[in-house]
């Protein structure tokens, strides 16, 4: 799993590739919280295009990201979900809780 951040105006896009499971979800959590709490960032978009699989510990990291963004008054959005990622959010009854977009353009549109 690799994760890296890029800045597009006042949004940060976090690109992840590889699978997210118990072995690396703490890294995802750390990167998410760091970017969300960064000053001046109004939106953090997590790019899951390169992620085929997310387990429940990965989902837990996303929920932590969401809570942190609510605290800091910024937006946390997801895009590029695989069928598997969508299913695990759905079965966890969290799909409607997240702002989910198809692609980057939509995810960072004003």
């Amino acid at each position: 799993m690799k994760i890296s951040a890029r800045r597009v105006e006042t949004a940060t896009i976090l690109d992840v590739s590889g699978n997210i499971d118990m072995s690396n979800s703490p890294e995802v959590r750390k990167a998410l919280l760091r970017e969300i709490r960064e000053k001046g960032v109004t939106r953090v978009a997590l790019n899951l295009t390169g992620v085929a699989y997310i387990d429940s510990s990965g989902v837990a990291s996303l929920v932590e990201g969401l809570k942190a963004s609510r605290e800091s008054g910024s937006r946390f959005v997801l895009f590029g979900l695989s069928d598997s990622a969508r299913e695990v959010l759905k079965i966890s009854r969290l799909l409607k809780l997240f702002e989910v977009y198809d692609d980057e353009t939509q995810a960072i549109a004003p």
Partner: protein, 175 residues
């Protein structure tokens, strides 16, 4: 040396209409970086059995979550403890139709699972964690925890729906 090795399950041939064929056994240690190895082995295996792509993903997800729970709860994060995964192909005859299924048995040497703690939490509260059991139960037809001697055994079973069932399961469940 390995206490698990001698304990191949022999108690599963009771059900008369189900036939069972050994497909694969995996032995590994309780290190989370090995979860991807289990998924990598299981993916082509369940694909072979004729499950739909969505059912494949459900099976992989359930096994992954169940092994993660063994690592986290049964072994409390210790990285070098033995885990065994058996995969069997099942066939059963219902109403004259043959259904293909898969049985995954997970063994660990941790302390007996406290079954009163095996509670999937209600999902209306939004908080991280506590999703694993919910995912496992929602993905498989059978989820059975059992103490077998000095081992914990988790039995997961899923059948591929027949063409009739396939339609039924394609419907959206009310949520």
């Amino acid at each position: 040396m390995n206490p698990i090795a001698a304990k191949q399950p022999r108690d599963m041939n009771k059900s008369s209409k189900v036939t069972r064929a050994f497909l694969l056994k995996l032995e590994l240690r309780s290190h989370p970086t090995l979860l991807c190895v289990i998924r990598g082995a299981l993916q082509p295996l369940v694909e072979m059995l004729g499950f739909s792509a969505e059912h494949n993903r459900e099976i992989i997800r359930a096994v992954d979550e169940a092994v993660a729970n063994i690592m986290r709860h049964s072994y409390q994060g210790r990285l070098d403890q033995p885990i065994e995964v058996y995969c069997n192909r099942l066939q059963r005859r219902t109403n004259g139709e043959i259904e293909q299924g898969v049985e995954v048995l997970l063994f660990d040497c941790g302390p007996a699972v406290d079954t009163t703690k095996l509670e999937a939490r209600p999902l209306d509260e939004v908080r991280p964690g506590g999703l694993g059991l919910h995912i496992i139960r929602g993905s498989m037809d059978t989820v059975q925890y059992k103490r077998a001697g000095r081992l914990n055994r988790l039995r997961l079973v899923k059948y591929a729906r027949t063409s009739k069932g396939e339609c039924g399961s394609a419907e959206e469940k009310p949520s």
